[in-house]
């Protein structure tokens, strides 16, 4: 992983995932290590994403690193029409590592080919967001003590949701059983189902919640957005079918944990928050440890 950019979850192997998880655990036990003391990290947010940016900034600050960059492209030279290539060629001279968020798909891959310092993709449009996926893996490992042989339910927008796609790709290395719950219009794309089939992995597909939640180890919820429906009536018909309520959890497994990439709107009702199976806020904190692990691995400090 040393000196290698992290652009797509597929850039890492199963062994790499496990190394990051182990290291994240080490940072969780001892977060204040001054490993980035003499490092400058560029944080380039070409579009705003407060949550992801704060998570990275917290991770860098705890490790004693310095941050340069911008929080949205409106205030930078990018606004004046500078090409991505020129921005990267400038910033690489000032920094040891570039973290970048950009609305254009494939922009981070391109930046990593232009840059002499490694690049971490913090989201490129609808394409990839690998640090989110690694923190999800860390959260699953922490709550289940293993990644192997788990029963995972993915709920919501399974067609466009990049987090569920990355999670599915990464978890497919650990012999999971998947259940997909989504409106017909937002079903898991065929290419991902074919991928599972080619690996001999089982999945079930439903258009609403049912008993399957009582078998689950993980329920990963994502939001069904109104904008995805060209027919507003269609949205009104289905919108309440994908809300997870506390009353639905009474017969679920003891070890079940509920994950969500956040921000949540109403797809997990608030009465779930006090249930010990709700894990989404801790999941967000895990992002700090996972990002510490990723950055120190890439910089060859761990």
């Amino acid at each position: 992983m040393k000196n290698k950019s992290l652009i797509s979850i597929n850039d890492y192997s199963k062994e790499d995932y496990l190394e990051i998880i182990e290291l994240a655990d080490e940072f969780e036990k001892n977060p204040n290590q001054r490993l980035l003391e003499d490092k400058v990290i560029a944080s380039l947010f070409f579009e705003p994403s407060t949550r992801t940016r704060l998570s990275f900034e917290s991770a860098i600050s705890r490790l004693g690193g310095k941050i340069i960059g911008f929080t949205d492209a409106g205030t930078s030279s990018v606004k004046k029409g500078e090409s991505l290539k020129d921005t990267i060629l400038t910033v690489e001279k000032y920094s040891d590592l570039i973290i970048m968020r950009h609305p254009v798909e494939g922009s981070s891959r391109y930046a990593s080919e232009v840059s002499k310092v490694p690049v971490i993709n913090a989201g490129d449009g609808a394409n990839q967001h690998p640090t989110q996926c690694l923190l999800d893996l860390y959260s699953i490992k922490k709550t289940q003590e293993t990644l192997e042989n788990l029963n995972i339910i993915l709920v919501g927008d399974l067609k466009y949701g990049r987090t569920v796609h990355s999670l599915l790709q990464a978890m497919s290395n650990f012999n999971p059983t998947f259940t997909f719950i989504s409106p017909k219009l937002l079903q898991m794309p065929k290419e991902y189902k074919l991928m599972l089939e080619s690996k001999g992995l089982k999945y079930e597909e439903y258009t609403e919640f049912n008993d399957c939640i009582n078998k689950a180890d993980i329920i990963y919820v994502t939001r069904v957005q109104r904008e995805r429906f060209s027919d507003p009536m269609e949205y009104e018909k289905v919108k309440n079918s994908y809300i997870l309520k506390n009353s639905m959890l009474s017969d679920t497994k003891e070890n079940l944990r509920i994950l969500h990439p956040l921000p949540r709107v109403n797809e997990i009702s608030e009465d779930v928050d006090s249930n010990e199976k709700a894990y989404y806020f801790t999941q967000a904190l895990n992002g700090v440890y996972a990002r510490m692990a990723i950055m120190t691995k890439i910089l060859g400090l761990k």
């Binding site: 290539k85 609305p103 254009v104 494939g106 891959r109």
Partner: protein
């Protein structure tokens, strides 16, 4: 019978004949191979009757043998094309086109939000399926399928 058919587009002594090009891909093939820029004699025929394909196009280039990497690109628009190497009016070699595993700079990525459609970045694809053609974009990771292929 065969001889009469060949004479629709005059025979060449030495060079390359590209046969079984779909009529509607003729001009794409010409531009992909930069045939508009070479100085050797070239003869074309298109909308010719073919027993196999309805109508077809054929290109005959005198005196030069094209690089096979170059020729394989045309598999994108003419997957059934056959290349004949001609020496002294005889076909000395027949070769079907075979798409390479990686394609760079010929095809446009189907995703309008892809960096290759936003900035000046050369496209790169991994060929994940050859029949039908599925191209996996190296940058945005979306698939461009055969029916949506646009050449640059």
């Amino acid at each position: 019978m065969k001889e009469r058919k060949e004479k629709r587009v005059s025979a060449i002594k030495n060079g390359t004949v590209i046969d079984h090009i779909p009529s509607n891909s003729m001009f794409k093939v010409i531009s992909m191979l930069n045939l508009d820029q070479i100085e050797y004699p070239i003869t074309f025929g298109t909308n010719l009757k073919s027993n196999k394909d309805g109508t077809k196009g054929i290109i005959k280039i005198s005196d030069i043998h094209l690089d096979s990497d170059d020729l394989n690109k045309i598999a994108l628009v003419a997957p059934k094309a056959v290349l004949n190497v001609i020496k002294d009016y005889e076909v000395t070699e027949k070769q079907v086109v075979d798409l390479p595993d990686k394609i760079s700079g010929i095809v446009k990525c189907v995703n309008p939000k892809c960096i290759t459609n936003v900035e000046n970045v050369k496209t790169k694809f991994n060929v994940v399926s050859k029949k039908p053609v599925h191209l996996h974009c190296h940058y945005c990771e979306k698939i461009t399928t055969q029916d949506l292929i646009q050449t640059l």
